[in-house]
Amino acid sequence: MRWYFFVLAMTVGWTPATGAPAETEAPLGFGVINQRSVTLTAQAWNPILGYVGKKVGVPLVLKMGRTAPETTAMTVRGEHAFAYTNHMFTVDRDRLGYKVILRMQGEPIRGAIVVRDDSPVRSVADLKDARVAFPSREAFVGYWLPMDHLLKSGVRVQEVFAGNQEGAMSQLQFGEVAAAAVNHKLLSRYGQREGFRYRVIWTSDPYLDVPIVAHPSLPPRLVEAVRAAFIGMAEDPAGRRALQASAEALGSPEVWRFVRAEDAEYDNYRRFYRTTVVKGNP
């Protein structure tokens, strides 16, 4: 499904967000980078997308691949009108023109290298030639930041890709790897849920959390309507119910809250990609 079909649809049948939702409106694709299993991601995001779709009058449909690269590829191909991803700041993809409109409220994220609590590893240097799990080669805080640090520190490791953040932690938990590089923000929640004791040996500089980006071809009114719907969710009883359902699906006591974000706030990502020694694409 090409993005231009959507654009066409938008131009023909778009009605303002304040109006009643059009029954015949064609759905817009919403990509979510693979941080969790597909099913868990769907259970978390579908209630939110359902609410926002109803609010703006255009259905938002979750579309994602089995892995992050697949999903990122789908975004790059323009299959997603909106995407919850931080993979679009590389030099090549930045050119596609996706703009940051929203982010989840919360502290900036960091990359972290963790080992098991009982591990003899004390510093990054101890990880030389060790197996280190990463969510995927595309993961910014999970791969790019730690790998950049490892490489710049002169430490070469055996890369093990677990598919996502929790997968990397699982590899560490079950002793498959000596260390795991993950989003620092996920650590405590995972450790608490799984009863797993770990030790952080390195953390990166802070970066704002994964943003929701909008395709540059989307009408600004629609983008603003979607942005407003996400921001106003917490104030609307229906929106709160959707956010609560999402939190319950994830088994998290914290309820997501979306806040406005500006594209310039993510320039540090862009700077990183320009200076990194890590090869390939996220």
Binding site: V38, T39, A42
Partner: protein, 998 residues
């Protein structure tokens, strides 16, 4: 119908076993079919449920997987997934995923065919299991999944299970049938045996029994049959025996009735005899042949009133029924009167109607006689028992009566041994002992008299006695008793009275004293009177003792004169006494030819009347002025006679030696004392004696042998026996041995004086007898009690003055009061004659006999004038020669074994002296007085009368407050103490001389 009839016939011909087998088989078959059916139904439902559950489970598993693939859009993966599910569940006939209105994926696997009979498929038809599930993720719709499961495999499983179940049920039922068959066959065998045994029992085989076997119920039935058979066999045997016993009992009853000694008879309703036994025939002297069928009137032909009475009673019995008893006096055909008791009851037929009566006659004639005799015997026995009880009670009382004075004697004797006692206390103790001893003597005399009377050995004499001498003697003793108790005593002579009566004065006085003592004892207030009158017609003296005491009940009067009996036991407790007095008095009165009777009622006092024969009357008294008393014996009435002569006292006991010697010295005789009969014989034969007093019981040679020996050797001098035995036999024995008389121990002064007077000559200077100085009796007992004697003497001198004044004024009452006071002031310690004189004076004053009182006051003065006391000792005047003479204790003179006691006193002498000097230095008169008083008591007690005399003087000086005199007396005491110590140092060599010189 034919078939049904044939079936019924066949069924009836079957035994219990085939019937049970057929019925049981049919029932089990039905049960097996039903169980199988129920099982199949239940399993069918279970299988249907399982199919549905399986479909639901399949969808629950597959739906989320399909959703994920649908989200990604991988349809091939969905198809693979559904096909994999179809291989897992072979029952699946179709699986469909439908999304957005069209079937996206449909899977139709081949379902294998199973062999199930068509009829079963139709019978247990099962629908396809059909289930659908919506596929949603986070509220987003991803279509619907549908599963259809084929029932063929389930039906096959149901068919196999049903077949298996049917086979199992059938096998179980077959086994059950076979087991039942064997069980029933075994039990039915026992039932057949039971039926057979019952049949044999019915035909007379009573011994037949069945061996119990089979089931519990069958065993019980067999046991029950055996028990019934056993019981019935026993009952049949008992029945046979009972018939035999009944016959025997009937025969026995016949014989019993006939042999019973009790006359028995029966009568019919008309009152005619229907049966009598042999005893009846014998009792009445009439044969049954004669009397059966006859009326009672025919039995008592001579006594129609008896017949009528019996007939009336019979009719009443037949009318009222029950048991009837009544006494009657019958006369038999033999003419004997018999006291009988009829006991009758009605005879009834089986319906309870009275058909007659049966009667028994008990002859009570002998029984009543025996009862009468038994009652008489019982009365006699009761009387004997009462007498026995009285005797026991008497013994108890006697024990008490004897113990009481003995206790006093022993108690006071022990107290007398206590050297710390003052002389006054000692004298009081001795008086008590004497009193108790006299009481004991009186008691023993009473007992002896009574036993003598019972043994018929009491002798009485009859001598003429002046009547008022007799009465005076009695009154002299009785009046103090009455006055001591605070009640009045009066003598009421009713003139004219005979001047003399011929009787035994001792016994007559004994009777009267006894009655008067009793009267006083039982009188709490009022007075006791002695009335004397003369019954000229009967020639008798009638003396009444009347009191106002508690009186005697009629019941007590009956037993009053029985020996050993007081009014009741409580009387003894309340008033004391032995219960002997009245019995003794009555018997004595009867022996004197008189009698005693009593008239009394409770609360109204008593009157005892003594009648005594007067004897020949030579003179009558018509008033108080005619009263002439016998002249008093010259001995005791005035003073002790002064006798002379030689007296030999033969006595082994030192105490008796001292007592008798003292009495003899009192009469002016110094006896010679020997200790046994042999010494007496020797002494008497060596020199003649005017009198020998011979104790009967002595060691070496007793008095009896000595007397006989002396008489045998021609000794003719008077010998008087001294004996403690006072019976006539003893006296006779003494006389037979050659004694001229006897004195009974303890020796009374009067008897002793009389005896000595009889055998010895009077002393010289007879006129001086009345004017001879008398030494106070107290000093005879203890010459050192001169102070006490002086004190007493002074009191009586004062009494004498008062008497003179009262007599001058003619005041009898004052004289009587004075006499009573003097009696209690201890005249005995001055002179025994004084006591008697005072008693006579009291009587005379009471009787108002002026002449007598005048005489007696004169005698009193004369006697007092004769009393001579030693002049008061004067310590200062003590001869210097005696001042240093050693002093030896009197106690050591009497009994040297008192040395320890005397030594104790000697040790305390310095202490006394020091205490006296200390008290004198401090001018402490109270302490001095205590010390002097103490010395007064102990000095004499330890055998130093000089110490006592000194102490008496010291006490007087202290009382007078003359301390200088006291100081001198203390010095004197120090000198005495030195003499005493010196005496102790010289003992025993110089003791005799020292004593005499003191």
């Amino acid at each position: 119908m034919n078939l049904a009839a044939r079936g019924t016939a066949v069924w009836r011909s079957l035994g219990l076993l085939p019937r049970l087998a057929a019925a049981q088989g049919l029932l089990l078959l039905c049960a097996a079919a039903l169980i199988t059916l129920l099982f199949a139904r239940q399993y069918h439902a279970q299988l249907a449920g399982e199919q549905a559950a399986k479909a639901r489970l399949l969808l629950d598993v597959a739906a989320p997987l399909v959703a994920e693939q649908a989200l990604i859009g991988d349809y091939a993966a969905v198809k693979q997934l559904l096909e994999r599910q179809a291989t897992v569940y072979p029952e699946i006939s179709r699986l469909t995923w439908r999304w957005n209105g069209r079937d996206r994926v449909v899977v139709r696997p081949d379902v294998p065919r199973e062999e199930v009979p068509g009829w079963f498929q139709r019978l247990a038809a099962m629908p396809e299991a059909h289930a659908t599930a919506d596929i949603r993720l986070g509220g987003a719709d991803y279509g619907r999944l549908e599963a259809v499961l084929d029932p063929t495999r389930a039906q096959h499983a149901l068919w196999r299970a049903t077949l298996h179940n049917l086979a199992l049920s059938s096998s179980a039922m077959l086994v059950l049938m076979v087991a039942l068959f064997f069980v029933l066959r075994a039990n039915l065998r026992v039932l057949r045996q039971l039926a057979d045994a019952a049949d044999r029992f019915r035909h007379g085989d009573h011994t037949v029994r069945v061996r119990p076997g089979g089931a519990r119920e069958v065993r019980s039935a067999a046991s029950a049959f055996n028990n019934v058979a056993e019981r019935m066999q026993g009952l049949l045997n008992d029945l046979s025996e009972s018939r035999q016993q009944l016959r025997e009992q009937l025969h026995f009853s016949e014989e019993l009735i006939e042999t019973l000694p009790l006359p028995l008879y029966t009568k019919n309703r008309q009152g005619r005899f229907t049966r009598v036994n042999k005893a009846w025939e014998a009792f009445f002297g009439a044969g049954r042949a004669e009397m059966l069928g006859r009326h009672v009137a025919d039995l008592y032909l001579d006594s129609p009133e008896i017949a009528a009475h019996i007939d009336v009673m019979d009719r009443a019995l037949m009318r009222n029924g029950g048991l009837q008893t009544h006494d009657a006096t019958l006369r038999t055909r033999r003419g004997e009167d018999r006291q009988v008791m009829f006991a009758k009851t009605t005879l009834t037929d089986a319906d309870g109607h009275v058909i007659g009566l049966i009667g028994a006659i008990t002859d009570l004639t002998e029984l009543k006689r025996a009862e009468h005799q038994a009652r008489a015997a019982l009365i006699e026995k009761t009387a004997a028992e009462k007498a026995n009880q009285a005797k026991s009670l008497f013994l108890a009382n006697m024990s008490h009566e004897i113990r009481t004075p003995l206790t006093a004697i022993i108690g006071y004797s022990e107290a007398l041994l206590d050297v710390r006692q003052s002389m006054a206390e000692r004298i009081e103790g001795i008086r008590t002992i004497r009193q108790a001893g006299r009481h004991l003597l009186g008691l023993i005399n009473d007992i002896l008299d009574l036993s003598k009377i019972e043994a018929g050995r009491l002798e009485v004499e009859c001598i003429p006695v002046p009547l008022f001498d007799l009465i005076d003697d009695v009154v002299a003793l009785a009046r103090p008793q009455a006055e001591a108790k605070g009640i009045g005593f009066a003598v009421e002579p009713v003139f004219p009275l005979p001047a003399k009566v011929t009787t035994d004065p001792v016994r007559a006085k004994q009777i009267l004293l006894n009655l008067i003592s009793n009267a006083i004892k039982f009188t709490e207030q009022g007075q006791v009177s002695l009335r004397v009158r003369h019954d000229a017609v009967g020639g008798r003296l009638v003396i009444e003792v009347v009191d106002t005491g508690i009186g005697i009940s009629a019941e007590q009067l009956v037993r009053l004169f029985q020996a050993f009996s007081q009014a009741d036991a409580s009387t003894t407790r309340r008033f004391g006494g032995t219960g002997l007095g009245l019995a003794l008095s009555k018997q004595l009165a009867e022996m004197l030819g008189g009698s005693i009777c009593v008239d009394s009622a409770p609360g109204r006092g008593s009157r005892f009347t003594v009648t005594l024969p007067v004897g020949a009357i030579d003179a009558m008294m018509h008033g108080a002025d005619d009263i002439r008393r016998a002249p008093p014996p010259e001995d005791a009435r005035t003073t002790a006679p002064n006798l002379k002569g030689r007296l030999l006292l033969v006595e082994d006991n030192p105490v008796n030696q001292r007592v008798i010697a003292l009495k003899a010295r009192h009469l002016g005789i110094e006896p010679r004392i020997v200790e046994n009969g042999a010494q007496a014989v020797e002494a008497a034969l060596a020199e003649p004696f005017d009198l020998i007093l011979m104790d009967m019981h002595m060691p070496v040679m007793d008095g009896m042998t000595a007397t006989r020996t002396l008489r045998a050797r021609g000794y003719t001098g008077p010998i008087v026996a001294l004996t403690a035995n006072s019976t006539q036999e003893d006296r006779q024995y003494c006389l037979d041995a050659g004694c001229n008389g006897f004195l009974t121990k303890p020796i009374e002064n009067a008897q002793f004086t009389e005896t000595l007077r009889r055998h010895l000559q009077a002393g010289e200077a007879a006129p001086a007898a009345s004017g001879e100085p008398l030494v106070p009796a107290l000093l005879w007992q203890d010459p050192d009690l001169v102070e006490l004697a002086r004190h007493l003497h002074e009191r009586f001198v004062a009494y004498g003055a008062a008497l003179q004044r009262a007599q001058a004024a003619g005041d009898n009452e004052a004289m009587r009061t004075l006499a009573r006071q003097m009696k209690t002031a201890g005249p005995d310690y001055l002179a025994p004659q004084l006591t008697e004189l005072i008693g006579q004076l009291e009587f005379a004053a009471t009787a108002g006999n002026r002449q007598s009182t005048q005489d007696l006051v004169a005698k009193f003065d004369a006697l007092m004038a004769r009393l001579q006391l030693p002049s008061p000792p004067d310590g200062a005047a003590t001869p210097a020669s005696a001042a240093d003479t050693p002093l030896v204790s009197d106690l050591l003179q009497e009994s040297p074994d008192m040395a320890d006691l005397v030594e104790y006193f000697l040790e305390r002498l310095p202490e006394y002296e020091a205490s006296l000097r200390t008290a004198a230095a401090a001018a402490d008169l109270a302490a001095l007085k205590t010390q002097a008083h103490d010395l007064k008591s102990v000095g004499g007690g330890y055998g130093y009368p000089l110490v006592t005399q000194l102490a008496i003087r010291m006490e007087a000086s202290i009382l007078a407050g003359k301390l200088d005199e006291v100081l001198g007396q203390i010095d004197e005491f120090a000198r005495l103490a030195r003499r005493i110590r010196a005496g102790e140092a010289t003992r025993p060599a110089g003791s005799q001389a020292a004593y005499r010189s003191s």
